[in-house]
């Protein structure tokens, strides 16, 4: 019998099945992706596949220095050092300049000596080392700059060096393009021919149980000669930021739409029972028990769920692979393990329980239906609750639409709920997509650097200073040092210690033209004031107005936190500090970054050409080279993911609207027949439906905007750690308008069949 019922209502159950399939697929896919990447991150970055610390030092003796330091070596399991060169020359591929921060070349004699994960993925994958004038580069770097095996990289400065790309590699220190640091590997002979400062590239793997070695254990000579240092937490963060964002938001969003779908199913079932009230009474009068009747309905929904939910779980696998393939592209690849299988089983059990539990909750009213009650419902009476018209003597389609919305409140609320959630999720993911794709316009928010038109990375000599300050194209320039390396600890009164690396210093943090974006408070402007990142604020429990104890090298003192900014740079543990305080701490620093705001009407290209002509040794970039990879990486990751999720949520909206339209048409079929019999035209009936949809969509759009304004920024900030979500007015308007047009179009399509059907057929039940 229940199979017959399924057949009779096949389209409705098919739609319910598709909705369950879609929502389950996203939920299962996102859960699997989140679990697998979390598990992968925990396993990969805690094992010997990844170094615990990476240093690039200015000295060729750094390796010896470390080996002689027992405080360090006692805790180190493996030390791997390569001679290197710090590259200051311009780098070009096909005459196109490629800007890289902390560019370096390492000598690689045998790839099998590398103690961490290192895989040759393209090119001469069987070679054990690069030959002379060959270079191995990371695949992340190659993708960001459209470099392929066989291309030639030119280093040009006072010397010229030509290197042929023969291998693209993946390695643990470069888990994503967001890393920003991409070591290049050459032969020893090639390295010797590069006329650049000597350096040493050192990776350390600690012994089991050792999480970190305090900076004070390292020799001062070692620490003061660092180009950069990265710990495993920083490396992990560049990998996990994306997975946290998309996995986290995707999972939350899919759970919301699954729950909305279940609410919709409840509503459809409740309406169904109301319509079938009399039939239920007839069944009971013929001897059917309530239990049997309940089981009959449960079987229908169980049947749909048993097919749709497992298919959805299977459908989630490609989604998980899509997301995982993007996040794990530069590591060992994405694989599904028993974690996902367990998650799949649990997902099936939980979602089926939610579905059947809710269906059963509605069906519990069946035992209360007596045959006499049910049989008295028919042509002359109804179980429906009756409401007064909001607009008396209504006649026009618009006023009748308002009355219909008022009288069928539960259906109206359901439509508004479904549409609000759909609008909101599309707006949320549209905003995330927009935020990520316009990252370079908001680097101040993401990385704690000032808002500028462009920058120049070069030592700020008196000549450079006067050239830029007196430049006819420049409105304002401030100078800073973004790579001050010092042993820095921040601690609060509870004793929580946190190292900050690097620390940034600018001549002024308060310039109104070249300004900084702070989430709370203000940048430092007086001595003994600092700005810290939001991550640091959370970890040490300090906020604006608090004093913290700052140790920089040998100096210790209390500093006032004046403001909190966001930064993804190097693990998100950075400081803003004034030069006067660096002097206090006896820190050696030199300004090597000029942050420039151009005059109105001057374009970046114009200024770039002017500098090229007048001071060719200075290279103007639209934003700092070290951030370029992060920007490209975020864009490459966010585009396919947000696009997929937006399409899915649009599909979810369409399916639910279709479901509601079908139910609406079924319920109102007779009414349409009566209206036609009374002389109302198809256009009138269509207009009534369209007005009803328009009003409900408008209410839903307003709710969605309110939800977005209240929650989206907070949700994004909590998941990513940066309050950077942007939703421009044009995007809001575009999403809202497009969705409303789509929904009105669907409504119109569903009213079309009424045209051709005669009043008699419509009134037949």
């Amino acid at each position: 019998m229940w199979k017959k019922k399924l057949r009779q209502k096949k389209y409705q159950f098919l739609l319910i099945g598709i909705v369950l399939f879609v929502t389950t697929a996203i939920f299962a896919g996102c859960i699997s992706f989140t679990l697998e990447t979390t598990r992968f991150g925990q396993d990969f970055f805690k094992s010997e596949t990844c170094p615990d610390m990476i240093y690039l030092t200015r000295s060729a003796d750094s390796e010896q220095l470390l080996k002689q330091t027992s405080d360090v070596m006692n805790d180190v399991d493996t030390l791997f050092a390569q001679s290197a060169k710090y590259i200051t020359a311009g780098m070009y591929v096909d005459d196109k300049a490629i800007n890289v921060t902390f560019n370096s070349c390492m000598a690689l004699n045998n790839v099998e000596e590398i103690p961490y994960y290192f895989e040759r993925v393209k090119g001469a994958t069987k070679d054990l080392a690069p030959k002379n004038h060959e270079v191995w580069i990371s695949q992340a770097f190659a993708d960001d700059n459209n470099i392929e095996v066989g291309d030639t990289i030119f280093l040009r400065s006072s010397y010229e060096c030509m290197l042929t790309v023969t291998v693209l590699y993946n390695s643990a220190p470069v888990p994503s393009g967001m890393m920003g640091i991409f070591p290049m590997f050459v032969s020893q002979e090639t390295l010797n021919s590069i006329d650049e400062p000597d350096a040493t590239y050192i990776t350390l793997q600690f012994k089991d149980g050792i999480k970190s070695i305090p900076n004070e254990c390292y020799p001062e000579e070692f620490m003061s000669n660092l180009y950069y240092s990265i710990d495993v937490a920083g490396i992990n963060m560049t990998y996990s930021t994306a997975s946290m964002l998309f996995g986290g938001i995707g999972t939350i969003a899919s759970l919301i739409i699954f729950l909305v779908s279940v609410i919709l199913i409840r509503f459809i079932l409740r309406s169904s029972l109301l319509r079938e009230y009399r039939s239920i009474g007839i069944y009971k009068s013929l001897g059917y028990t309530s239990k049997k009747i309940i089981r009959f309905y449960l079987n229908c929904y169980a049947f749909v769920g048993v097919f749709a939910i497992p298919l959805g779980i299977l459908g989630g696998i490609p989604l998980a692979y899509l997301l995982g393939g993007i996040t794990n592209k530069y590591l060992t690849g994405y694989h599904i393990t028993s974690t996902s299988i367990l998650a799949a089983v649990l997902t099936f059990v939980i979602l089926m329980l939610i579905l059947l539990g809710n269906v059963y909750a509605i069906l519990r009213t069946i035992p209360k239906i007596t045959p006499i009650k049910a049989l008295s419902i028919g042509a002359t009476s109804s179980k429906e609750k009756l409401k007064r018209s909001l607009i008396p003597s209504a006649h026009s389609p618009f006023s009748m639409a308002i009355n219909m919305i008022w009288k069928k409140k539960s259906l109206s609320v359901m439509v508004v709920l479904v549409l609000s959630v759909s609008f909101y999720l599309i707006l949320l993911f549209g905003s995330i997509s927009h935020t990520c794709s316009t990252l370079e316009s908001h680097l101040d928010v993401w990385f704690g650097i000032p808002r500028t038109s462009c920058s120049i990375a070069a030592d700020v000599t008196d000549d450079v200073r006067s050239y830029l300050t007196d430049n006819p194209y420049v409105k304002k320039v401030i100078f800073g040092d973004l790579s001050i390396r010092a042993t820095t600890f921040v601690s609060n009164t509870t004793g929580n210690d946190l190292s900050a690396d690097p620390i940034f210093s600018y001549e002024s943090f308060e310039d109104p033209v070249v300004s900084f974006t702070y989430a709370k408070g203000r940048p430092p402007k007086n001595p003994l004031e600092i700005g810290i990142t939001s991550d640091m604020s959370k970890e040490i429990g300090g906020t604006v107005g608090d004093y913290v104890n700052l140790t920089i090298n040998d100096y210790t003192g209390d500093f006032l936190i004046t403001g909190i900014f966001s930064s993804l740079m190097q693990g998100g543990h950075n400081l803003h500090i004034l030069p006067v305080d660096l002097d206090r701490c006896h820190i050696t620093y030199h300004f090597d970054n000029s942050m420039i705001q151009l005059k109105e009407g001057v374009s970046f290209e114009e200024f770039q050409d002017y500098v090229q002509e007048t001071k060719p040794e200075l290279q103007v970039v639209s934003y700092m080279p070290g951030l370029k990879s992060a920007v490209i990486s975020v864009k490459n990751l966010s585009k396919p993911v947000t696009f997929t999720l937006v399409i899915v949520f649009i599909l979810f909206s369409i399916l639910n609207i279709i479901n509601l339209m079908m139910m609406n048409n079924l319920e109102n079929r007779k009414q349409y027949g009566i209206l036609k019999a009374l002389g109302f035209t198809n256009r009138y009936i269509c207009a009534q439906n369209m007005f009803r949809t328009l009003i409900l969509s408008t209410i839903a759009a307003i709710f969605a905007q309110v939800l977005d304004l209240l929650f989206s920024k907070i949700l994004f900030a909590n998941l990513v750690g940066i309050d950077a979500l942007i939703c421009p007015f044009t995007l809001r308007l575009g999403v809202t308008f497009s969705m409303m047009v789509l929904i009105l179009f669907i409504t119109y399509l569903f009213t079309l069949p009424v045209k051709k059907i005669s009043p008699k057929e419509l009134m037949e039940e």
Partner: protein
């Protein structure tokens, strides 16, 4: 000489059930006259409701021509047909088919809006309902009334537009004898005042109110009985005459 208000020529109506086609009305030529209370009778499945729907714009004939008040409805567009349904004809259904979300008053007035000013229609609706003993039920919903009450609302709705023809598909079918009689009295009264009515029924007592009786058999008009104006005192004789007529046609 009475005016023809409805005329059919070779009217056919077929239904497709599965793979088979079932022709219910077979080349019916028919004229219905102004001022008549025309009743269509026939055995179950003879096509009487089908005929009623086909000549009232409620259903589309498969072939043939149908004219209402001189207009060939088989060649009219959607708006022209809607105009006929709005102004020229009214329909009373067996299951009343009132709009459940509208009150009694709204059900009647809603059908009339657009034909005169709102105030006039509102007043007319109130007057009609009061004349049908529904003055106290204006704000009630159809489901709060008895079957007879609902059918009286349907009659009021049919009268709001001053339609030239009222169609009825077994309007007393869902009512008990007392309520049915009430409805028939109202319809007879309207007909005595000149209202043209076309009705389908299987009840001889209802048929006795007719001025003309058409018998449908096997999709064709098998018999046509003229009865003259109904007088309550002649009810028994009329019923006997109808009974004989039906017997001759093997009803």
């Amino acid at each position: 000489m009475k005016n023809t208000i409805i005329k059919t020529e070779k009217l056919c109506k077929s239904f497709i059930i599965g793979k088979t086609s079932n022709t219910v009305l077979k080349n019916i030529d028919l004229e219905i006259y102004e001022g008549d209370f025309t009743i269509i009778m026939g055995s179950s499945g003879s096509g009487k409701s089908t005929l009623l729907y086909s000549i009232s714009t409620m259903d589309t004939p498969t072939s043939g021509d149908v004219s209402i008040l001189g207009q060939d409805i088989t060649h009219l567009n959607e708006y022209e047909i809607a105009a006929i349904r709005k102004k020229d004809i009214s329909f009373i259904f067996q299951s009343m088919n009132l709009l459940p979300d509208l009150t009694v008053f709204e059900n009647v007035a809603y059908s009339g809006y657009g034909l005169a000013s709102k105030e006039q229609i509102n007043q007319k609706a109130t007057d009609l309902l009061t004349s049908l003993d529904l003055g106290d039920s204006l704000l009630k919903y159809p489901s709060e009334l008895s079957g007879g009450g609902q059918q009286r609302v349907a009659i009021a709705r049919a009268l709001i537009s001053d339609a030239k023809i009222i169609f009825g598909d077994e309007p007393t079918g869902a009512l008990n004898s007392s309520m049915g009689r009430q409805v028939l009295d109202i319809l007879t009264d309207l007909n005595n005042k000149g209202q043209s009515i076309v009705m389908v029924t299987h009840d001889i007592k209802a048929a006795a109110r007719a001025t003309r009786l058409l018998y449908l058999s096997d999709g064709k008009i098998a018999g046509d009985l003229k009865l003259g104006t109904y007088i309550p005192d002649n009810r028994a004789e009329r019923e006997d005459a109808i009974f004989q007529f039906l017997k001759e046609h093997n009803w």
